[in-house]
Amino acid sequence: MKKNIQWKLILVLAVLALSIFLAYPPSKIPLGLDLSGGMHLVLQVVTDDAINAETDNEILRLQEELKKENLTYERISKSADRVGRFTIQNFDVQRERELRDMLDESYKEWDYSVVGTEVVLNIKSNVAFYLRDQAVRQSEETIWNRVDELGLTEPTIQRQGGAGGDRIIVELPGVDNPERVKNILKTTALLEWKLVMGGPAPTEEALLEPHGGLVPEDMQVVKGDPKRTQGGYYLLSRVASVTGRDIRMARRSIDQWNSPAVSFTLDPESSRRFGKTTTDHRGENLAIVLDGRVQSAPVIEDRITTGSGIIRGGYTIEEAEDLALVLRAGAMPAEIKYLEERTIGPSLGADSIRKGLTSIIMALVLILVFMVFYYRLAGVNAVIALVFNVIILMGALAYFHASLTLPGIAGIILTIGMAVDANVLVFERIREELSQGKSVLSSIAAGFSRAFRTILDANVTTIIAAIFLFQFGTGPIRGFAVTLIIGITASMFTAIFVSRLIFDLSYSKKKKRDKLNI
C-alpha cells in the first residue's frame, strides 16, 4: 500500500473514531424544545416603566428641594403622552435665576427649557437609554432567579438585540405546568408596606371626601385586591416603609388559623426601620401592597423589632408557595409582556422523534437501494461514504452542542439526499471518461478532479442559502440551517476524500484492474 494512502486511511479512521466518540451515546446531542417538549417564550420588558419610576422619584425629590429653597409653584405635572417628561407650572418668575441654578446643579440628567411661567423637563436620551438597559438587565436577572427557584433544568435565557433590545427569550425544556411558570415569570412582585391614611372606602370619592376630593401630595389611592380584601379603595402614604427589596428570606408557612401564608425576614437595616415605623404608628393600620393592590391592612398591634413577619390574605398553598418564590427571587423593575409563547408537550415531542427517525431510516434505505442498483459496486462505495457523513454530522452536532430540532431532522434527511449528489457527479464523470476509452485508474482520477469544482460551486450556493437562513432564522429553523451547513461540508469530505480513498484502496491492490464496476 502506498504511504500516501496509508496516511489518508489513518486520517479518515481518526475522524470517524472522533465523531463516534463525540456522538456516543446519542443522548449527548441535546434535543431542541420541539423534540424534548418544553416552553419557548419571548418576553418584552416594558422599559417605559423604568423611566416612569425614575420620573416619579425625581418629581418627589424636586418637590422637596423646591420646598427647602422656598421656591413657589402651582404644581408639577407628569406628561401623559411622553415618558420622561414633566412640567413645573406657574413658578415664581422673579426667581427664575435661582431655579435655573438649582436645576443646573442637581438635575444634570434632565434637559429643561423655560417657557413663560412653565419649566419643561425632559430626561436626557443617554440617561433614558441607560435606565432602559438596566431595566432589561435586571429583568433578565430576576427571570434567572425565578427559573432557578422553580428548579427547572437547563434553561436558556437570552436577551435579544444587544444593549438596545428590550426582548428576552426564555427556553425551558421539560416544563409540565406551563400556566404556573408563565404566571410566575410575569408577576412584577413589587411588595411594599405602606401606612394606611384612610379607607377602605367603597368609592374613590368617598375616600377623598375628608381631603376635599383631592389626593394629598404625600399620599396615593390604592385599590384593594378583590381576591384578598373586600375590595374598595385605600388612601396610603406615598413612601413605603419597607419594600420587597429589603426581604432577606421568604417562605411558605401558615398563620395562627392554619391557613397558608408567607413568612418573611428583613435584613438588619430594614428591621430597624420597620421597628421604628411600628413603634411610631402603633395602633394604626399598615397595608401590604403587592403590584399595586392591597393584600391586607392589619393593625400594628405591637412594635416589631425582630424584622420578621407574616403576609396573609386567604392564599391557597400553591399561591403562597409562588408568592414566597417571587419574593425570594426579587421584583421585576418593569412590567413584562408576552410576545410569543410556544409550549410543546412531551408526547408530541416523542412522536416527532419517532416519525423523524422513521423518515431518516426510510431515506437511507431508499438511497442505499437506488445507489447500489444504479452504480453497482461504486454505489456501495457511495453508501459507505454516506454513512460516514451521517456519523460525522452527529459528531459535529454533539461537539458544537447544537440542539437537534425537528427541522434539524429534516436537515439530516436533506443532507442524505444531497450528499450522494457529489458521488453522482463524480461517478457520472468517471463513466464519461471510461466511455472515451480511458483506463480505469485515470478515469477515476479524472472523474474526481474534474467534478471537484462543480461540486464545490454547487455546495457553496446551498451553504450560502443556509447561512442567511441561520442569520435571520429563529430556534428550530437555526437547527435546520446548522445541520444543513455541517452536513454539506461533511459531504465534501466524505463524497470526495473518503470515496476516493475507497476507490484507491480497492484498485491499488489488484494492480491494473481493467474493469470498473460502475
Binding site: 418584552q44 409540565d176 405546568n177 409582556k337 408576552y338 410576545l339 410569543e340 409563547e341 410556544r342 409550549t343 408537550g345 412531551p346 408526547s347 408530541l348 412522536d351 416519525k355 423523524g356 423518515s359 426510510m362 431515506a363 431508499l366 438511497i367 437506488f370 444504479y374 425537528l406 427541522p407 431532522i409 429534516a410 434527511i413 436533506l414 439526499g417 444531497m418 449528489d421 453522482v424 457527479l425 457520472e428 463513466r431 464519461e432 469544482r453 462543480t454 460551486d457 454547487a458 457553496v460 450556493t461 446551498t462 451553504i463 450560502i464 442559502a465 443556509a466 447561512i467 442567511f468 437562513l469 442569520q471 435571520f472 432564522g473 429563529t474 428550530p476 429553523i477 435546520f480 444543513l484
Partner: protein, 386 residues
C-alpha cells in the same frame, strides 16, 4: 445501469413552449394570490393561537366545528391529523374587530383556552370545579403527591409509570387502561377514580404568536430570501460571467414564483419551515444549473465552431443523467419525509418536493434559454465564455 445511454434531445427547440408553460403557471399562481385565495399565512407570520389536541374518542370534524360554532368560535380553522379522528390542530381566528384586542397576545390565548374548554364540556368543568384533578394534564410531581396520601410507598413508581404511558400515548382514555395496560394495582386505581377525572381531551401543544413577533418574522423571512438571492448572484457572478449570474437568478425567481403559486393553489399555510424550504430550494436548485453552466463553459472552449443554441443542447444532454439522478436522490429523501415525517414537517417536505421538481425542470429548460436570449439580445463582444 444507465437511464440515458446517449441522450440527444433538442431542448432549445421547445424553449418558447417551456417559457409559455412557465409563464402560464406563474400567472395563474399570481392571479390566485392577488385576486383569488391569496397566500394563507400561518401563525408564525399572521399571529394567533394554534392548539393541537388529542381526543380520547373519535369525533368527526363536523362535530368539532359545530361545538365551536355554538361558542362563537366558528371561524376557527380545524385540521385533522391522521385518519383516526382523534387528533386535531385548531387555529383560532379573531372574530372581533377591536384592534386593541387583536394586538394582544393574551386575547389570542384566551381564544385558545376557550376552544379547549368548549370541547371539554360542562361536565368536566363541573368536576374540576368540585375539586377533582384531571389525570390527563397533571404533572408527575403532583400525581405522586396525590397517590401518596393513601399509598405512600407506591406513589413515586406508580406516578412515573402512568406519566410514561401518557407521554407515549398522548392521552389516557380509561381507568381500565391504567389498571390493565400500565399494571397499576386496582386499589390505587379505585382511589384515583374518586379524586380524579380523565379529560376527554389532552393538549399536545399550544402556540401563540403576537402580532409584533409575526411582523418581525415576516420581515426576517423576506430579508433572508432577498439576501440569499443576492448572495447567489454575487457568487455566480464571481465564478462565472455576469450573464450566468443573471440567468441563475431569473431561474431561481421562476422556481420561487411557481412554488408559492402552487402553495396558494393548494391552500397550504406559509410558516417558518416553508420559508426554510424555499431558501433551501434557492440554494439547491442552483446545483443543477451550475452543473449545466460548467459544461456550457467547458464546451465553449472545445466546440468553438458550434452554433450557441446547439452547444447549449449538447451541454444539457451531456449532463442530463446527472441532473436527473441528483434531483432524484434528493426527491426520494424529501418524499420519505413527506410520507413518514409527520404533520409538523409536512408543509416543509411538500415545498421541497415541488421545489426539487420545478428546480430540475427550470435548470434544464429555463436557465439555458436565458443564456440563449442574453447572447441574442446583448451580443457580448467577448462571447459567452470566460
Amino acid at each position: 445501469m444507465q437511464i440515458f445511454k446517449k441522450p440527444n434531445f433538442s431542448f432549445m427547440k421547445y424553449k418558447y413552449i417551456a417559457l409559455g408553460f412557465s409563464a402560464i403557471i406563474i400567472i395563474i399562481g399570481l392571479l390566485n394570490i392577488i385576486f383569488g385565495k391569496g397566500l394563507t399565512q400561518g401563525i408564525d407570520f399572521a399571529g394567533g393561537t394554534l392548539v393541537r389536541i388529542k381526543l380520547s374518542e373519535p369525533m368527526p370534524v363536523s362535530d368539532i366545528r359545530q361545538a365551536l360554532a355554538i361558542a362563537d368560535l366558528g371561524t376557527s380553522k380545524i385540521q385533522a391529523v391522521g385518519k383516526t379522528q382523534t387528533e386535531y390542530m385548531i387555529r383560532t381566528m379573531q372574530a372581533t374587530e377591536d384592534e386593541q384586542q387583536q394586538q394582544d397576545i393574551e386575547a389570542h390565548e384566551i381564544m385558545g383556552q376557550k376552544v379547549v374548554d368548549v370541547l371539554r364540556g360542562e361536565d368536566e368543568k363541573a368536576a374540576i370545579d368540585s375539586g377533582k384533578i384531571d389525570l390527563n394534564s397533571i404533572d408527575e410531581g403532583g400525581l405522586s403527591l396525590l397517590i401518596a396520601t393513601d399509598f405512600p410507598d407506591e406513589a413515586e413508581d406508580s406516578a412515573r409509570r402512568i406519566i410514561v404511558f401518557r407521554v407515549a400515548n398522548g392521552i389516557i382514555t380509561s381507568y381500565e387502561q391504567i389498571e390493565q395496560e400500565i399494571g397499576i394495582s386496582s386499589d390505587i386505581v379505585r382511589s384515583l377514580q374518586t379524586k380524579t377525572i380523565l379529560s376527554r381531551l389532552a393538549i399536545l401543544s399550544r402556540e401563540s404568536v403576537g402580532p409584533q413577533v409575526g411582523f418581525d418574522l415576516r420581515r426576517k423571512a423576506t430579508q433572508a430570501t432577498v439576501w440569499a438571492l443576492f448572495g447567489m448572484l454575487l457568487y455566480i457572478g464571481i465564478r462565472f460571467k455576469f450573464a450566468y449570474g443573471v440567468a441563475a437568478i431569473l431561474t431561481l425567481t421562476h422556481d420561487i414564483l411557481i412554488t408559492i403559486g402552487i402553495f396558494s393553489l393548494t391552500n397550504r399555510e406559509i410558516n417558518l419551515p416553508v420559508i426554510a424550504a424555499i431558501l433551501t430550494i434557492v440554494g439547491y436548485s442552483l446545483n443543477d444549473t451550475i452543473v449545466i453552466f460548467v459544461r456550457v463553459r467547458d464546451n465553449l472552449k472545445i466546440l468553438r465552431k458550434k452554433e450557441f443554441g446547439e452547444l447549449l443542447d449538447t451541454s444539457i444532454n451531456q449532463t442530463l443523467s446527472r441532473t436527473i439522478i441528483t434531483s432524484g436522490t434528493t426527491f426520494i429523501t424529501v418524499a420519505s419525509l413527506f410520507f413518514f415525517g409527520g404533520e409538523v414537517l409536512n408543509d416543509f417536505a411538500f415545498t421541497m418536493m415541488i421545489g426539487v421538481i420545478v428546480g430540475t425542470y427550470s435548470s434544464i429548460y429555463q436557465s439555458c434559454s436565458i443564456l440563449f436570449f442574453w447572447k441574442k439580445f446583448f451580443k457580448p463582444k467577448k462571447g459567452m465564455g470566460k
